[in-house]
């Protein structure tokens, strides 16, 4: 009897540990369900017209949410210390998955980019690679001789990060590349890299960006489009203009859930990369800021978990996962508001996209587990 009770306690322990911070998970699920509602609103017309099923995207996303919830439960139970043993392996697998993108028969090409692979289910390896890099970097930073923060010592983190970036860029997927690069900088910063070294790193990156733009002139046009989208309303500027129309017609309080006009095919990717525009249109400035507030709350709690983690590994892991969520959220909102050059990146938890949702909920599970372990 005693033994059975203790076993039960052990199983449930990660969920009901005294100091566990459940708020990130609660916020993540609130955002995910909210995402379902917004995906329904944003896609019901186009899905009904093009697929013949108004609930097509919602249903797929609901499955993603269900699967993500299971992954969350698993990762929340998983002993974080297990990642220390398997961290490099996980990153290695993610690299292999990224390479599989280029294998004919497995990799799926859409719109000239190879971003998907089909292995039973179809998913984007780059989604996994983001977190795999965070885990591997955390393992390395944890294992390295403590208090050594020489540039040379941090080099492996840089190499892993750049390697991941290079593979994602080869797909090509500029936006995720930028995202991973930013996460890498956060990991290096948390890993103790001197600020002047970080700044030195920024220099070749800027040169790299310039080269990338020079190689593909369409990127330069995109860049210009963000500065003045109305100069090319039918070409590069189109998507941003439509996004601004959506946000603008939202005003203070929005046109109400389900009443978006821009979702009638005017705003492309309204259910995925540009769902925040529909949120802004239907819920207005007030609703959009409320959503941002939820993310800020989630990020604050994530960093608090990092700060109070039991060990440095937990700290790096929680910090990295939170950084991924934060960076992707900021880039997404910056794009739809025309604050940075347009690039396609989903809004964590909310945008349509199964692999993204599953991976992020998995990340939330790890975050929660770190918080459970802190004492």
């Amino acid at each position: 009897m005693e033994k059975k009770n203790s076993l039960k306690w052990k199983i449930l322990q990660p969920f009901f540990a005294k100091n566990t911070d459940y708020l990130p998970a609660i916020l993540a699920f609130i955002l995910s369900v909210f995402g379902l509602v917004m995906i329904w609103s944003a896609s019901k017309y186009t899905a009904g017209k093009e697929v013949g099923d108004a609930f097509y995207f919602v249903r797929k996303q609901a499955f993603g949410l269900l699967f993500g919830a299971i992954v969350y439960l698993l990762t929340a139970k998983l002993n974080v210390q297990a990642f220390i043993r398997t961290g490099y392996l996980i990153w290695g697998i993610s690299v292999i998955l990224l390479l599989l993108v280029f294998v004919p028969g497995i990799g799926v090409e859409t719109l000239g980019a190879k971003r998907w692979i089909r292995l039973g289910v179809q998913f984007q390896p780059s989604e996994i690679a983001k977190f795999a890099f965070v885990i591997a970097a955390s393992v390395y930073l944890h294992k390295r001789e403590s208090r050594v923060f020489q540039f040379r010592v941090l080099l492996p983190v840089l190499i892993m990060g750049l390697a991941t970036c290079a593979l994602v860029l080869a797909e090509p997927n500029m936006s995720v590349t930028v995202c991973i690069a930013a996460v890498m900088i956060v990991m290096l910063f948390l890993g103790g890299m001197q600020v002047k070294h970080l700044l030195l790193l920024a220099l070749p990156m800027l040169v790299g960006c310039a080269v990338l733009i020079a190689v593909e002139p369409y990127r330069f046009k995109r860049l210009m489009a963000f500065i003045d989208p109305f100069a090319s309303p039918k070409a590069e500027g189109y998507q941003l203009i439509q996004s601004l129309y959506a946000l603008g017609s939202g005003g203070w309080f929005g046109v109400g859930i389900g009443n978006s006009r821009q979702k009638y095919e005017f705003l492309p990717f309204s259910e995925s990369d540009f769902i925040f525009s529909v949120i802004g249109e239907e819920l207005g400035f007030v609703g959009a800021v409320a959503v941002i507030a939820l993310y800020i709350l989630l990020i604050c709690r994530g960093f608090r978990i990092a700060r109070t983690a039991k060990n440095r590994f937990g700290c790096y892991l929680a910090g990295g996962i939170t950084a991924v969520i934060a960076i992707q959220t900021l880039i997404n909102i910056a794009v739809v508001t025309g604050s940075i050059p347009p690039t396609g990146i989903p809004l964590p938890f909310v945008s349509y996209g199964g692999s993204s949702l599953v991976v992020f909920l998995g990340g939330i599970g790890i975050l929660q587990r770190v918080s459970s372990d802190r004492n």
């Binding site: 946000l247 005003g251 821009q262 095919e265 802004g280 400035f285 440095r312 909102i333």
Partner: protein
């Protein structure tokens, strides 16, 4: 040597958080800018793309005669549009349209497959029954809008004056063109909320901006008199096979045009739009836009000038009792002017001015013109409106050709005296004649008496415009009597109506082609008015290149009588004599 750097992980986490929160707040500020500050402007721009508008074609204004008889009206027809992007079943749509509109499936498929255009006009002017069948089929992507087909109930009646419209119902010629701004009305719109492709969103409100119908033109034309004149000219066409028979009937006391006929003419409902030269030729209102050498009808004005000057005490003017020399010829500056008559057997002898008019004797009018002199004579030509447009409300009016006064030599002056070396429009001639016989008032001829809204409210009313006084009442009275004599006793006797007082003057002019006289080509004309003591109607008949007989007295004058007789019957006018 290993360099150690001590750092606080806690502080770095806090620093990262602060950077992220700062970025998030910046985005909130940006959102505030986009949504709240520029929101209204963006909404307005967005609203433009949310709705598609179909035009609502306004009813083109009616053109009626003086009594409200509709001369130009409209019939409802439909325009069929397709929005290729909104088509869900192309085969069904092409089949439907090819069946109903008799278009080939292949060309339809090609036109409707072009998704880069938002709207294809498949066919215009589709009759209601056909449109109803298309509506009943209820195919996605097919739209209809009501359009107007201009209809002219009287077919070719007054056709050159009315003019016609193009497929867009814009006036192309005549009054349709001159008054197009009033007639065209204002387009309305049906705004439909659609998706990007132009597919209407179900349940969304439609906004309807009604069209404003064009204004109604009331003409001075009397359709009944017009018909009388048209029939007379048709008869002239049959009898004399000229290249044209034209006629103006005018109210001498106002300048109002009562009838304006150009034969041959075309049915305005069935124009040869593909044959531009034919269309141009038949749609010319030659009475206003073409000039001719008037010949003897012009002598009225020479006579007026002389009488007026004589009454004013000008010694150069010839007295009514003045007997003109009998000679058939006058030689002026080396060139010789001959009378049309041989002056044999006592003809054209001992002529007074009255006789000269009766006989239409050229040398007498040479004498008058030369005696009055260039300066005086030109004053009268100007008062009678020659050398300038009358100002009628019609497009393309010509002002005729009158030699500039300093250029005129006596040889020219002598010929102008009897209507040569001068070119006028028929309108100028009748307007001048009206001034001569109505008491001396030169009225500007006009065609439209009123513009009113479709609801019947008067927008603008046109009154007779007295441009100037040409001669005195007394002179006018004298010339009326003389011209009545021409019809009673002289060359105008074919216009004589028993029991009624008709005045008039014949004219026969040789035609010029490329600056030289064209042998055997004449313009026979007659200008008449009645009742001669107080004219109510004036008419100018022009028979262009009659075959066989060519004297105005025999070719043109009978049609003036014909027209006047029928007007008498129409208006139940009582005779004086």
């Amino acid at each position: 040597m290993i360099k150690y750097t001590v750092y606080s992980l806690q502080k770095r986490i806090t620093a990262s958080l602060l950077v992220i929160v700062f970025a998030a707040l910046s985005l909130c500020v940006r959102l505030f800018w986009v949504q709240v500050i520029t929101g209204k402007g963006l909404t307005l721009r967005a609203a433009e793309q949310w709705a598609r508008d179909l035009p609502v074609i306004p009813e083109r204004g009616l053109i009626t005669d003086a009594n409200g008889e509709i001369l130009a009206g409209n019939r409802s027809v439909y325009s069929v549009y397709v929005r290729p992007k909104a088509v869900t079943d192309l085969t069904a749509v092409t089949q439907l349209l090819s069946d109903t509109l008799e278009l080939s499936v292949d060309s339809l498929t090609e036109r409707l497959s072009n998704k880069s255009v938002s709207e294809v006009t498949v066919k215009r002017r589709v009759e209601k029954e056909v449109a109803d069948r298309i509506i009943a089929a209820n195919c996605n992507g097919v739209y209809l809008s009501r359009d107007n087909l201009r209809v002219y109930p009287y077919a070719d009646l007054l056709s050159q004056v009315l003019g016609f419209v193009n497929v867009d119902n814009r006036g192309q010629s005549g009054l349709e063109s001159y008054y197009d701004l009033f007639l065209r009305g204002t387009e309305g719109k049906v705004l439909t909320q659609t998706d990007l492709q132009g597919v209407a969103i179900s349940g969304a409100e439609q906004m309807y901006l009604p069209a404003i119908s064009g204004m109604t033109l009331t003409l001075t034309i009397d359709a009944k008199i017009q018909m009388i004149a048209e029939r007379a000219m048709e008869q002239a066409m049959r009898t004399h096979s000229p290249i044209g028979a034209r006629c103006i009937v005018m109210d001498p006391n106002t300048g109002a045009i009562l009838a304006m006929v150009n034969k041959p003419s075309l049915d305005l409902n069935d124009l040869p739009r593909d044959d531009i030269s034919l269309l141009n030729q038949y749609s010319r209102n030659a009475l206003v836009v073409d000039i001719y050498e008037p010949g003897s009808t012009f002598k009225i004005l020479t006579a007026c000038a002389n009488i007026e000057e004589y009454q004013n005490g000008n010694r150069n003017a010839l007295a009514p009792t003045h007997i003109f020399p009998d000679s058939r010829t006058r030689t002026v500056e080396g060139s010789t002017v001959k009378c049309w008559s041989m002056h044999l057997n006592g003809n054209h002898s001992h002529q007074t001015l009255s006789d000269a008019l009766n006989n239409s004797c050229n040398p007498c009018f040479v004498d008058i013109a030369l005696s009055l002199g260039k300066s005086t004579f030109y004053q009268y030509l100007s008062k009678f409106g020659f050398g300038k447009q009358t100002g009628i409300d019609f497009i393309g009016e010509q002002g005729g050709i009158l030699l500039a006064e300093p250029m005129v030599k006596n040889g020219d002056l002598a010929r102008i005296g009897f209507g040569q070396t001068v070119a006028v429009t028929p309108l100028q001639l009748i307007a001048a004649t009206c001034a001569a016989v109505n008491g001396g008032n030169y009225y500007q001829p006009y065609l439209v008496s009123e513009i009113s809204s479709a609801e019947g409210d008067t927008v603008s009313r046109f009154y007779p415009t007295l441009k100037n006084r040409a001669i005195s009442e007394k002179t006018s009275q004298t010339i009326r009597a003389m011209l009545e004599g021409v019809v009673r006793d002289g060359s105008g006797k074919h216009a004589y109506i028993e029991g009624y007082r008709v005045g008039g003057k014949t004219g026969t002019a040789q035609k010029y082609e490329n600056g030289i006289i064209a042998q055997g080509k004449y313009i026979s004309s007659f200008v008449g008015f009645f009742p001669a003591n107080a004219p109510q109607y004036a008419a100018l008949i022009i028979i262009d290149e009659p075959e066989g007989a060519h004297y105005g007295s025999t070719v043109a004058a009978p049609y003036c009588r014909e027209i006047f007789e029928q007007i008498i019957a129409l208006k139940r006018m009582k005779g004086d004599a």
